[in-house]
Structure formats: structure tokens, C-alpha cells
Symmetry: C2
Subunit: 168 residues, 2 copies
Amino acid sequence: MRKRRETKKTGRRAGSARPERSPAQGEDYEAVFRDFLQEKGLKLTRERKVILEEVFRHDDHFDIDEFYLKIKQKGLKVSRASIYRTLPLLLECGLVDEVKTTERQAFYEHIHGRRHHDHLVCLSCGKVIEFYSPAIERLQEEICRRRRFKSLRHVLEIQGHCKDCASA
Amino acid sequence: MRKRRETKKTGRRAGSARPERSPAQGEDYEAVFRDFLQEKGLKLTRERKVILEEVFRHDDHFDIDEFYLKIKQKGLKVSRASIYRTLPLLLECGLVDEVKTTERQAFYEHIHGRRHHDHLVCLSCGKVIEFYSPAIERLQEEICRRRRFKSLRHVLEIQGHCKDCASA
DNA sequence: ATTGCTATTGAGACTTAATCTCAATTTCAT
DNA sequence: ATGAAATTGAGATTAAGTCTCAATAGCAAT
Ligand SMILES: [Zn+2]
Ligand SMILES: [Zn+2]
Ligand SMILES: [Zn+2]
Ligand SMILES: [Zn+2]
């Protein structure tokens, strides 16, 4: 068993800032995944189904190790390697969002009709607060346009102390 | 000898976007460092001097491994451990800026009168282009204020393809 | 300059997230 | 049902970063 790094995990729920879901997008992520796989000549295996289900059962951010443990505790059998191999696929087909943090480990969140958003991360309690600023997004586009830089993605993470930890 | 990871290093010079130096700030970074160390009861060793000099000889971003190799090639003798121990000190006293990237390795850049800035990173050629947007900075402050989040630092990295690579 | 208390160093061991290996197994189009 | 090709998983490997600890160096006080 891999030793888990010790990290503050308290209160790792997103704050009130989460953009609400758009119910417009269908629930059938399995169909999306299946089609994606088929198109690439890949196979929808039992393991991939388990991972997909589990990803969509999660309603907040998670890191891979946490995710692996959760699957294991449920008695489902999927290897760490398969998880590491499947998440990039889910990323590629747009069902999952990867947020590379300034910490070593990236975290993930299923998309399921969520909008893009960025993050405030509390250095004391580990809380992740989502925010979305159309103005900032627009300015980024502007910056890229001016430099003829073709933007594919971005990471904006603000680190500091949340209001609970700052007052303590 | 530690095996280097293979990464695209071509054209890793910053683009034209670098904010110009402010000549107002004195050149005497060694004095700054010495005072800082003294205040903390730490010592200005030969190794620390070498590292400091070398950091300020670099005029763009660098990662630790690259940095270590460069020092070694010059025949200067400083261990990897010392570099890993010294850079956080330089960070702490504000002489160096650490930019955690979405890649595994962070990169560094000496400050020396530079303003804060963020980065465009080209995924094809590895080029790092700096930019600074007062408007974005202001919006970030605004977001934090609204959430009573005390911001300490932030990372904004936009990934994509630079104009040279996009046209190719 | 000498002394002595600490901070520091460096070689190499260790940690750990992530990737790779490869034989055994599973998927799925035919 | 069949077989080519993709996939799996246990464990090895990689590599950035951290830690250990005996030997050494800085420096303040004498
Ligand atoms: Zn954004
Ligand atoms: Zn907090
Ligand atoms: Zn900024
Ligand atoms: Zn490029």
C-alpha cells in the first residue's frame, strides 16, 4: 500500500461560489464516453465504467489517490494504473476537468454541465473555493489576441487564507 | 549523475512582453540577502554566495536542475541539496520569484526590480512569454475582497501555442 | 588569533506521484 | 465462436524533491 502524503484535507468542499449546473446538458455521460472510445478504437471495459461512474458520483474536487482509495473501500477492483490511464481519456473527451495546482498533485472534477471556473485555495485548511470572472476571462483572451498566442487552457489559482482561517 | 527529464527547451527566452526593469532598485542584492540572513541568525556561506551570484546572472526563467548543471559546468561546487535549501530563502527575502507551473517542475526568476507578471507558455516550443495586466490584478483583488479571502499569491498561466508555433 | 556554539554542507538514502513493463485477460467486430 | 488488438494489474522504475548525519565552516565573543 502506497503511503499517503499528509495533507490538510479539512473542509475541502467548494464554497458557495460554485456556478450552478446547467440542466441543459444530458446526463448520459456513459454514451459520451462510449462514443469517444469507439471513435478512437478503444474499448469500454468494466474498469473504465467503474471509474466513470465513480467520477460522476463525486461532487467536488478530488485527487487521484483519494479517488483510488474510495473505489477500493467500496470493494470495486480497479488498479491505480487504470485510473491513471483512464483519467486522461475522460479529460480528452471533455467529461472531466483537470486542475493543475501549484501543489504537487493535480485535482479533478467532473464537468457535467459546469462552467469553467478558477480557484481560491486556502493554505490553512485546504478549502477550494470556485469563482468565475467573465471580465478576467475576457482580458485573458485579449492578451492572447494581442500576442497572437493561441490559448488552449489556463490556470488561475489564488492562494491565501479563507475568511474562517484568516479570522482565527 | 541524475538523469534529466527530456523537455522541450528550444527558444526558452521570454518574448517582448517583459516589463522593463525599474532602475530605481539598487543592485546590491548581496546586502539584501546578508541582512535577511543576519536577521534570522543564518550565515552567509560560500555556497549561498555562489547561488546568489548565479541567480542574478540568469536573465530569464530557470528550473533548479538546469541551474544546478550550469553551476557545475562552471566548476563551482555547490550541492543540489544546498540549492534546494537556498532558493526558499531567496524567495522569502523577496530576491527571487518562484513560479509554480502546471508542469512538474517550478521555475524561478530573480526579481531585481521586476514587477509581478504572469505567463503564457507555449506547449510546442516551451517559450515563456511574460505579461502583466493591471486590470486582471485588480479584478482578482476584487474577487478576494468579496469573499473575504486574504490573498497571498497567485498563479496565472495560459497555455497554448505561440505565434511561431501556431503558424507552423 | 583562538575558542566554541551553531548553522551548514554534501553524499547518498529516502519519499512519492506518476509512468512503464509485460504476461495474462478481456473486448468486440466479424 | 474466433482472433486480433486493446487492456489490465502487480510490481518495477523514474525523477523531483526531501531528509539524514557526520564533517565542516561561519561568526561572535574573548
Ligand atoms: Zn479562468
Ligand atoms: Zn481556510
Ligand atoms: Zn498576476
Ligand atoms: Zn512556440
